[in-house]
Symmetry: none
Subunit: 221 residues, 4 copies
DNA sequence: AATGAATGAGCTTTCATTCAT
DNA sequence: AATGAATGAAAGCTCATTCAT
């Protein structure tokens, strides 16, 4: 037995800690997420990912079988990370309208802060959601929002403040649309109308507008 | 002697009409639009376009210098075709709220009917609008909507019906968001919430919702 | 009858004089010479030639069957143009050494002034002279120099001033080498030794050196 | 059990040795040198190089990024290989004239034996030395000759045998011209004057002539 | 668990050339 | 005498992937 064999550090070129599979995988995933988000699925280059990784291209194939599997892992990761935003909000204790306002604001902030995720979703739509389909249980998680919206709507209706003919999923779509679009389409929209959608002033106006649009939409008139 | 021998059409292999550059170009553009819309810029294959064309791959490079230039031509074409939808609506003669309702409905129908265009816009946003930037005057055309919305808002405000603190561009964005998102994100949204965004029932509900959201948003309360 | 129908100038785009075949050919040749001289045979582009021509690419093929034939025509033209430099010199009336000096100086000036020709010759050597072989009578013309050198050598020998063991062709080669090299190799030689072979000072030194080298070489010691 | 089973060579299709990058690179370089020397930069075909290589076209792009980079590598290699010819000659111990004679003779033999290199230099001059410029320190090496010539000239002058008004670089150019030209221009010159510049008799005459021309040129008269 | 070297398949693009009038 | 449109063939290059250790 050789005691020194257990030593984690080696004296060659790049010093390397004890091989840590999960760290390596996480590193690859992080770099891949950026590459896919930036260039899309077909536009992304495995070589480009490998270059910015601590490991080699070979490792990418070792852990993720091929480019598509890697993309799916990135997608899964992204959906998992952004999930359950609303869990933090404790919407149940607020009055319905305030709760809804909080939800819209939180969605707005979330989308605004996570352009990479927005882009991944847009990219996945370009691919007709076929990779999302192969993912499995992630979808369940996201269904949490619907339950929350349903509760808010129910409480608002009970109080006679909200109308009864609105579906929670449709309302979620309206919220998403107002928050997602200004991030997903900022380049074309910004260029066509020569405005900067990311300026603090616009941002504030849009946030207010999204909240107002949703609150007015649900109100019992 | 056969008088018909002078006829321009030949019965061999691929029949070839009289050389018609603009027809050839238009043909290529049409096929290319579908390929780019379906697969994105990097995902599109010049070979695939060539195969579905009356001409050869060589012709694609003859008329459009390279893949990117072809993509730009497709983009330009798409924006030009969808322009001036609102021109057809005689919005000026309708009362403000009806005019706005018409505009939203028309935008909704338009986006619903032109998925290929929606996808191209989404794709162009993945590329950060860099190709749109190289296009030039097309942007101007689209600015027509803003003028129209401004007129509607002005008339509504004059009548005391509309609020004064809404920007035409922002309102246009809200309208676009509500109409665009359900087409651009139908795959991921549909899969996550297990619904079909294209079903006639949903479609009708969403159209109504978009109109209501916008009308309520602009109303002076 | 329409009198204006006979007018040679047309009112469309590029006005065009009466079609003049020999002018068109000469135009093509001139442009082609530059292109071939600049880029070599394989490096030259038929399209590039066509673009800088008054006519179209089609005309190039109309007058010259293909790229190689055009190259050969250029080569022939070039050799014809530079031929018989020595004819102008009237070397016969000068004493042998003065005549030889004149010849070297004239060769030097000639090579210095005709870089394009030098390059064509270098290019043709890259192609192992295979196109020159297909040319025919041009070679005869250039043999004039040899006769002249022979006369000079004979007169010098008769006067007891020149040595008897030098071949006219070899002497011509030595003259050519000294005059040709500094033009043909100016880029590599200049870059390696960080000097400018075209500077007036160097040029003068080299001219003097070439003359001296040749005169000393032929002298009876 | 077969002991030879562990041997690295396999008997299938193309035998493939142990992966050996430097061998692979060297193999590519060698074949490429021949192709470029034979056909020039634009005339060379990457496919043609690949075919004569133990590896595939893909490997060429793996090690050398593109055709131009490969060409540059070939050029660099060629200049490095031919460098320092004069280092082998112990010129310092010989009397000045003998040393100069040795140098000219060695240059003559060198150019005569390395037609491929001569052709590469000619080709590089067609490209105006632009690739040589991107090479770097190779130039320095070649400057060794100049120092050597300077030493010889100095010693010759000190002995009163050599003239004082000759620059080492210019003398080197004269030597180069006389030795290079008969190789670089052998095809056109040979064809025009119907002689074979490579015949042993001519070769001997030219070697003698080059030596004489240079020795006479430097002599103090 | 990890990897440097290698690669087949296919991609975009270029080129000299010809067709049809 | 002239030409705009068209093209087959092949060139250079890229990509995801695997081999051998």
């Amino acid at each position: 037995m050789d005691a020194s064999a257990a030593a984690p550090k080696r004296r060659d070129g790049k010093r390397k800690r004890k091989n840590d599979p999960s760290r390596t995988k996480a590193d690859i995933l992080e770099v891949a997420a950026e590459e896919f988000s930036t260039h899309g699925l077909s536009g992304a280059r495995v070589d480009a990912i490998a270059e910015r990784t601590r490991t080699s291209k070979r490792m990418i194939y070792y852990y993720f079988q091929d480019k598509e599997t890697l993309y799916r892992a990135v997608l899964e990761n992204a959906y998992s990370a952004v999930r359950a935003i609303e869990a933090k909000l404790d919407l149940e204790t607020q009055p319905p309208e305030a709760a809804l306002r909080s939800l819209v604001e939180q969605t707005f902030e979330n989308d605004d802060a996570n352009e990479a995720f927005i882009r991944l979703v847009a990219i996945e739509n370009i691919h007709r959601g076929e990779h999302l389909s192969q993912l499995g249980p992630i979808r369940e998680i996201n269904k949490g929002v619907i339950a929350i919206i349903e509760r808010i709507l129910a409480r608002g209706r009970a109080a006679g403040a909200f109308r009864a003919d609105l579906d929670a999923i449709d309302l979620h779509m309206a919220i998403s649309a107002l928050c997602f679009f200004r991030v997903s389409n900022k380049h074309t929209f910004g260029k066509i109308f020569k405005i900067d959608l990311t300026s603090p002033a616009r941002r504030a106006k849009h946030k207010r507008m999204a909240v107002e649009a949703i609150l007015r939409l649900v109100r019992q008139e």
